[in-house]
Amino acid sequence: MTLLMAIVEATPSPAPVPGAGIFTSPFLLSLLIWIPVIVATAIAFMPNPRGRYEVLIKQIAFFTNLGMMAVLFIAYNQFENFLPTMQYEEKIPWLPGIGVTYHLGVDGPGLLMLMLSGLIGIASVLGSLGVRERVRSYFCLLLLAQASVNGAIVARDMFVLLVFWGASVVPLALLIIGWGGPRRVAAAWRLVGYWGLGTAALAIGVLALYAASGGQSFDMDVLLKASLSPRIQIAISVVMIIAAATRLPLFPFHGWIRDVLSEAPPGVTVVVAGAASRLGAFLLLRTVIGAEPAAGHLLSPLLAALAAMTVGFAGLAALRSVDVRHAASYLAMVPGGITVLGLAAISPLGIAGSVLSMFTGGLAAALIAGVCATLAERAQSRSLLVLSGLAPRMPNVAWLLTIAALALLGVPILSSYTAEVMTFFGAFKNQPIGAFAVAAGLAVSAIALAVLLRRVLLGAPNTDAPGVSDASLGETWFLGLLAGALLWVGLFPGGPKIPGTDVPLFDPGLLNQMSAGISDIASQYAAPTPPAAQ
């Protein structure tokens, strides 16, 4: 018997996971929503004469996010992945007259999205350390945005979901108007217009669902389990698809992404691209794929077509862009297309791949948008006609941009590889044409990335370009955090184990935790066993 085996056998079984028994709370999910709101309110009323406490405000925001991440990590470790039901549930009557309850809960996909939101939160604060003007207002709005995203993820009541869904628009729009680039007003209005349309569509869908299911309750356990006729399912699903398509975004509802991601400051870019936009795919998973199987089957070709058009358009548009932030904005659409392909696959593996793709795609989109925003700031130019040969002078940015490109393409070692393999493997059975089309779109995106890398990083330096400087420590950290998360999950999708054993080290494995609840959703789409071959 080896020494390692002796240690394992000496360990009491089951092995205690980090955080077990240390911290529990019946309002764990509420903490993730309301602590940022409380801190934001405190910051808003905090005196800040002549900017004296700006550093303190940034520290408060950072440690708030760090604290939430610590709470999330404990919740992640304590999460019981063998249970198909919601966990950490909270249910308080809110508007009983119309059947609204303050109902929160997470399953595997929800936990995944929370982890994504937590990572993005920390990254966004680190990416915002360079903000100098109206610091108090900025971080107040940033925390409110994070709170609304968390609320939308954990909501188990459609009314509550609608509230948080709509609430996320306001702080983000204000952040863009207040701290964005030259075309910030247009960008903010675009965001309000498209996401407002999506919110309106969601409202119509929720109300239709409410009416069709008897008008008693907005709770998801009632609405999403109601037996509806296929026609009503389709109508509601179409509206939900519109809502999701404006948020993710999917072609042709992508009009906001170019301006928003290119005009927003880096910290806001990361929140929009990484967490807020993933809510679109999350909505599709919950309300269409998870709840309306008949509509899911019928509309899956439409979803596959949208996915293929999104990925193809993103690659082509990025190829033609002469602005580095525009190119990054278009490329940030690619992971969304792959996520939707997985949902369109309506197969268990495709759905599982799509859920993982929400996490990895969010990180990849945030990374490409964030690194190009940083590059444009540091190089003092956004024009691809001016930027050239920056790799020797900006090695940190060069490596991060390369990792972002590899993450978008799904190169192994990064977690997007696992997600894309699962998505493609799951999609080929039911949507082979869509899968081929997305693969072709990925090839175009690869060319676009190669052109982008070649123009910006490689080649001879442009002597007429403004002076450049490499990313600062904060910028390296916030981008490195995103890249590190991609690498970690890519190397240990099932969590690191003590060598030679199956005992988890300190991470139970994202794939293991996210599987809770997926089997229930996916089992509706499991193919029947074909007759045995003659």
Partner: protein, 607 residues
Amino acid sequence: MATFVLALSSVRTRRSASATAMFGTVVTLLLTLLVGWGLAKRSTPFEAAYHYFTMSVAFNGPANFQTFGIDLILRADHLTVAALVAIEVCFIGAIAWHQVMGRSEPGAARFHAVLTALLFACVGVLLSRDLAALFGFWAIGGALTYMLLAHRWGLDAAASRSRVALALPFLTDLCLLCGIAWLYARYGTQNLNTLLPILHTNPGWTVRSLVVASVLLFLGVAGRLALWPFTAWITQTTITAPPAASAIAQSAWSVLAIVLLYRVMPIFVASNQQTLQALLAVCAVAAVVAPLLGLIGNEPRRVIALAGSGVAAIAAAVVISGFRNSSTTFAVAGVACVLAMAPARAAAWFAISSIANAMRTDDLADMGDAWRRMRASSTALLASTIVLGLAATGALTFGVTSRSKLGIALGEAALLIALAALRLFVATAFGPLRRRRAFEPDRVREVAPGARSSPYWLALAGAAFLIASLIAGWLNFLDGQKHPAPAVAAVAVWAAAAIIGFAVCALVYARAKDGALRASAVAGAWLGRGVSAIFAVVDRFLVAPTTGIARLLGDWIPEGDGALGRFATASGQLALASARAPALPLLIVLAVVLAVAVALFAPGVAR
């Protein structure tokens, strides 16, 4: 991997980076030989499995589809060991050559780190039995190959040419991924050990699904094997990539791709005969066209790339033919052919690069007299081109009959390969070396001793593999089956095809070297114009309209939003104005408008 980490983290000088990479590669070779020695005492291959992840995705449905997992299933058999030895020998030669000739290349630590990481990826591809894990290593190798070929970051030409080295193989790699995904979608497994036995027994299998999978897998293999027309990712980077990078990219990938082809052949066989016939035809066409294109144009490294592509196509044809006719009997001869070709190709690459570097030109027409001025490099070039020309002899001897259509086509290909290969030696070794602007022929010297030996040793390794490929015992060793010894007449026939090619080349170039080179230059210029014209047509009628539509959409949608916004603003202003307007005039105006509308639209009112 350890060497990669070391090279990336701690080495600072070019020499230490090179030494670290060499150390790691040599250790890997010794370990490979150790595994080979261990295999000699066993009848079964070594197998080991490491769990990457497993995930439960459904509670019902076919059992194969209820869980999904990727495991690292490693299998080392004789074929794996031989392929690894061939690749590692190429790596060692490349590092040794680059130590001397790559002094002016930037980023030594980066180069050697990527090189050792590529070796890691090659080992992973050869050992993996799980297709998803294999694709993982394959994709890593692809990304690293691009980084090697685009190594010269400061040059515009290098950056733009290396785009093809990313895009084209990526496209074929996606086909490989699609093929693996297609197989998984039908069979619920991507492990070759469990997949191959159930190809015809899994419920719901169809011939169509196997045909689609076969085509996709073949496309994936053909891209990395650089079969024509997928040669562009090598020929476009011949001048712009470091020679060591190009040599490794061609040699290593040809071995990896042919081994993968050999391993997935049972899937092709399980489809139908028509598919195999079609793939054979494709290989035969590629085998003939590639060396033919190598005769056009005077860029020497392009000639080697295309000649090697021809040999690879012959090897692929032999592998497919071997499985088509009598189940794995002679298919492994195709693999043995590539094992011989890979080191020879690298050797020729290094030798011609040394000569081209010394003569400061990449045009065969400007080269000459190397036999007198650079005897060692010329000799190495001669040896390697002879091995390259004869590399396919063993495969053809064992696998193809000379009386068949396939035999005639592949024989023609072998002749063209020999012709193209020896052309390099004859054009560079003999004839005058003319004075050019800023070039003095008398200053041409042999390369440093450290760079002279690599091509020799590689050519020797290639020759050893070539001789082995003619021996039945070697094939017995590779695939563990019994093969009858080849007939001497068969060997003579196929060797004669190559020798005729050599003889024709020697004759033509001896009589009219300048004329031949001029003709190939003109043909090359015409070919270049033709290719440019085709690219221009594709760009004009496909790429530009598509990207133009994308650009228009990208502009039209924001303009549409803007118009909607202006309309909303205008209607809001109108509403505001009407709210402020006095009520009576407004009512009168509204009444008039309504009356006119009713008059226009209601029937019988305005008569």
